[in-house]
Symmetry: C2
Subunit: 331 residues, 2 copies
């Protein structure tokens, strides 16, 4: 029979559908028929030589004529830095202008070089760019949360193949994020400890869901994983904000992230995926109740009416099995 | 520029991406290349003659040898009525057996006859079956919430073409549902009125987002629609629970629901969609703070990293425009 598991960070319930569960290797997709991407594409606005097809760069890393990483405003931004953040209300309906910033980090000049195949140094530079942009964007006092995320593949929400990350700086802290922070704050008020550090400690005691561990980071498939192969990368140094990541952590995280993404690439056949850097609201960075972390979600299933109507995800993979499977993938 | 709108029932924010918005007719998909379905399929476990390929029926409507509607336990249930609902805890991890019930309502014997093409009387019978099963399932004192939902099409989460609805009876009320109920309760405590009835009143004053109105029901595209063409059907008679729907309401809702689904079918090219009947937790049925309603979500976009990481949906359609478009669709 299936199992109901509760996510201790959100109190959401997840159904682990053990009987419907597929074995970990059944999630692999056949990539033999997919065309290989070229290393440069004339049609790609993110490829070198096409720089004029993006808005003017917000930052360029490396020689401007031979750049390593470029940061540009999103040409179709979800939020724009115009006007103000004043709320307007008419009866029960509250709205404001879509104030904010929406940037694209072009991760590499090479059209087909995604993170698993980059040099460690390049991934480290990319992580530093994320941190740089975080600090640049938070200078705007209207910005209350900064979300760094990546959509890889069509079903993960991108139509552009060229490796890129997006950053949205938003003036509203949504309930989705505030709620996580409140639950962690309540745990701290109860126990005097960080909820996420406690989870990490308990996961290390159980060992069943750990994928990889190094001195500064742990990768695991959470106890109440909402999705098959959902992976969290958690820092061992307690810090609420990704903005405060240390050089020594970046140095280690580069190879670590690369290896985790390569394991997913190999074991699942270059799956579409999203990754998200969860970090505290900007004004709560100094509080010790939260732990920044990376969530990676391969797109292997569709949300259906049950998920939409209940918020209970049905996960057709067992986290202990997928974590063991991933530990065994040699890269 | 885009607009941030707040959903008054959840406090979630939605970005209405006006500049990225597509015109309503741009969402229509080309159905010319799709094969027509037969009225019966030998391979279909839900077609007449294949009754032995489903678990034994929980209820049959009409002549058993010439049934109109059949209700069967789901062959691959998310929850099953075995064991109990006791929570087990190990450190921060809480779980229980997947206790509950998961039924399938086979809506018609005809393989290719979806709701928009049924007789009104048949849709009314179907709605009565939903109500019957609601009352049958709630007899189990472990059941705390009953979710009636429909997945139409592959991207909406079903691989079975034969028209069917699913019903899950769950022992846990998830935060997703509890939170809606709490927000409505707070509104009642503040104002003495039902939040949803107030929304309905305000929407009728504004008129911009109303799709259809009859004496007992209103269909609208919510102010902070999370998805393009998201449609709510709201009853005008205040009632927390779908279980208490009246005969006279069912009589009207049958043709109403059919028309709304037919408008979506025609205007969007038989889109994949989910529909969900939102209703109060079973133990809160008698409370007057909530309003049951139907939510219809066509699957026209993918959730990406931003949505996953923030809970803020980016809606690439403007509800006022899509509602006006739907009002104009003649069926």
């Amino acid at each position: 029979m299936s199992e109901l598991r509760q996510d201790p960070t959100t109190y959401d319930w997840v159904i682990i559908a053990k009987e419907r569960a597929r074995r970990p290797h059944d999630f692999k997709r056949d990539v033999s028929e997919r065309p290989l991407l070229p290393s440069r594409s004339d049609d790609c606005p993110f490829c070198p030589g096409n720089e004029e097809r993006t808005p003017a760069a917000a930052a360029v890393y490396g020689d401007p004529d031979n750049w390593n990483i470029r940061v540009v405003p999103n040409k179709f931004p979800a939020l724009t830095p115009e006007g103000d953040t004043t709320r307007e209300e008419w009866k029960l309906f509250r709205k404001s202008r879509g104030y904010g910033k929406h940037e694209v980090v072009i991760e590499t000049p090479v059209h087909n070089k995604c993170i698993p195949f980059m040099e460690d140094d390049h991934v480290a530079e990319l992580l530093k760019v994320y941190r740089d942009r975080y600090h640049a964007l938070k200078k705007d006092p209207n910005v209350k949360i900064i979300l760094i995320f990546k959509n890889h593949g069509l079903t993960a929400g991108t139509s552009l193949e060229h490796p890129h990350t997006q950053i949205v700086a938003s003036p509203v802290v949504p309930p989705f994020i505030r709620r996580r922070f409140e639950i962690a704050t309540q745990h701290f008020d109860n126990t005097g400890r960080c909820l996420y550090c406690d989870i990490l400690h308990d996961e290390h005691q159980s060992k069943d869901r750990i994928v990889k561990e190094t001195p500064y980071f742990t990768a695991l498939h959470p106890f109440a994983s909402h999705y098959p192969f959902e992976t969290w990368i958690m820092p061992k140094l307690h810090s609420s904000s990704f903005g405060n990541i240390l050089e020594v952590e970046i140095g280690e995280l580069a190879g670590f992230l690369k290896e985790i993404l390569l394991k997913l690439y190999v074991s699942l056949g270059d799956p579409d995926y999203n990754f998200i850097i969860h970090t505290s609201p900007v004004d709560d960075e100094h509080k010790t109740y939260y732990l920044w972390h990376i969530q990676i979600v391969p797109k292997l299933t569709f949300a259906a009416g049950f998920e939409l109507g209940s918020g209970i995800n049905i996960n057709t993979a067992v986290p202990e099995e997928t974590a063991a499977f991933m530990r065994g993938i040699k890269v």
